[in-house]
């Protein structure tokens, strides 16, 4: 197995061990904890009064536009990282290219700002 794949195998093993630990803790817990079912225990909490309706209804997500912006900027971050690692080798050419890229992104943010997307609607 190559060194590259092996290093990720270590991470997978680590994650699996973490899951095993969580499962073990839950297992120990289930042996120790009491279980005395009463219907009142399984009512959702709503400040002490009986809940009115369910929570799985339509909800206004005010910041869904932020989520769209986030996708744009997160993809940009993926572009910036390889450039940041190799900047010394890329030199002035890479610098100018990335400055143009960042300027366009900043313009996009400014456009969203002027369009009042960043305002609490």
């Amino acid at each position: 197995m190559s060194e590259f794949l092996r290093s990720y195998l270590t991470v997978v093993v680590f994650g699996a061990a973490g899951m095993a630990l969580v499962a073990a803790m839950l297992g120990v817990g289930s042996l120790l904890r009491p279980k005395r079912p009463q219907p009142q225990k399984y009512i959702n909490y709503e400040s002490g009064v009986d809940p009115v309706g369910g929570a799985w209804a339509q909800t206004q997500i005010r910041y869904y536009v932020y989520a769209l912006l986030f996708v744009m900027f997160d993809v940009e971050a993926v572009f910036i990282f390889p450039w940041a690692v190799r900047l010394e080798a890329l030199g002035m050419f890479g610098l100018v290219e990335m400055m143009i890229f960042i300027a366009i992104l900043a313009l996009g943010l400014l456009y969203a700002w002027r369009k009042r997307v960043l305002k609490w609607a």
Binding site: M19, Y42, I43, N44, A55, D74, A77, F81, M99
Partner: protein, 345 residues
């Protein structure tokens, strides 16, 4: 063959991995318990002119164990309206994403689970997986408080993910590598105005990045002043409202475990990590490294919790405005200035 020069013996890959995994999985709960006791129980109490837990052990130091025992005995309650499978899985997703974060944090020349080439990028990617767990928890609980808390948490975590990621780019430009061991080495070899004996922690050149990283980490951890997702006075405990017993404890451990990990990443990126000046790589560095890193982690964690106990809560729109109108433009400017200085100078 993975060498483990710590003990001057050659171990097979699986042996070395087993030792590392065991050691790190022990460090995580201990680290988060230390943070809970020192900062949440004691520092918070003394800053607010009260004693905090004092009964269990000397100065209440065994209180964390008492709490663990208490959670162990609590009934595991699934609300009748809950989506059982998702409800059960959500805390596991959150806590495992915290565990995996520790895989790339170095505590010494050999004390790291795996020094991935894309180390810091991996850490940032894994840390954001917890958003999915939080959204799962809020949606599956079938409670209004939980749903509101989870939606707030999601909006907040994605908004502050960007400053967190962009603040790191400045360090990456300076170090020229994504590996956390490489970043430690770059700081160890650095020079302050030609004086290179003690290295050059990136906090001197990336101070803006350090501040952005800390503010964003504060928001990622949903600590006050960014604690709207779990605001006790409005939402009880947000997405954790319906959880009890061990599953609630998992969210709690994950919160403090992530605080410990992000403090460790901040120490590694900006404060020089485990590196001790004048100490060559070897047994001594492996012994001194964790202690040095531990002190730096406690310092960064102190800053985080100091903010938490001092500031009042933001409003949701103020929170989004701070991220999008101030931190992101600032971190873009930081990247531009760092890049220009790197190429020109």
């Amino acid at each position: 063959m993975t060498a483990l020069p710590l003990l001057a013996i050659e171990l097979a890959w699986w042996q070395a991995t087993a030792i590392k995994v065991g050691a790190v999985l022990t460090v995580i709960p201990i680290g988060s318990l230390i943070l809970v006791y020192v900062f949440l129980f004691k520092m918070m109490s003394h800053m607010q002119s009260r004693l905090g837990p004092m009964e269990a052990g000397p100065h209440g130091s065994l209180q964390v164990l008492a709490e663990a025992g208490k959670f162990l005995q609590k009934e595991d309650i699934f609300p009748a309206r809950a989506d059982r499978a998702v409800f059960a899985m959500a805390p596991v997703v959150v806590i495992v994403s915290t565990f995996i974060l520790y895989a790339v944090i170095p505590a010494g020349p050999d004390l790291i689970v795996e020094d991935l080439d894309v180390g810091i990028f991996f850490a940032l990617a894994v840390s954001s997986v917890s958003v999915i767990g939080i959204l799962m928890a809020g949606w599956s609980s079938g409670s209004k408080y939980s749903l509101l808390g989870a939606l707030r948490a999601t909006g907040q975590l994605i908004a502050y993910e960007l400053p967190l990621v962009l603040a790191v780019v400045g360090v990456v430009i300076q170090a020229g590598t994504l590996s956390l061991q490489g970043i430690v080495a770059a700081q160890a070899e650095g020079e302050i105005f030609g004086f290179g004996l003690i290295g050059n922690p990136f906090i001197f050149t990336q101070f803006v990045g350090f501040v952005i990283f800390l503010v964003a980490a504060q928001a990622e951890l949903t600590q006050t002043p960014f604690d709207m997702p779990i605001a006790e006075s409005e939402l009880v405990a947000g997405y954790m409202t319906e959880y009890s017993g061990f599953r609630f404890l998992f969210f709690f451990i994950a919160e403090f475990g992530t605080a410990f990990a992000l403090a460790g990443i901040a120490s590694t990126l900006f404060l020089g990590g485990w590196y001790v000046p004048f100490l060559p790589d070897g047994l001594l560095a492996n012994l001194a490294g964790p202690a040095v890193l531990g002190v730096k982690i406690m310092f960064v964690a102190f800053l985080i919790f100091w903010m938490r106990f001092t500031f009042p809560r933001f409003r949701e729109d103020q929170l989004q405005a701070l991220a999008w109108k101030f931190l992101i433009p600032l971190s873009l400017a930081n990247i531009a200035v760092t890049a220009v200085l790197k190429v020109v100078m």
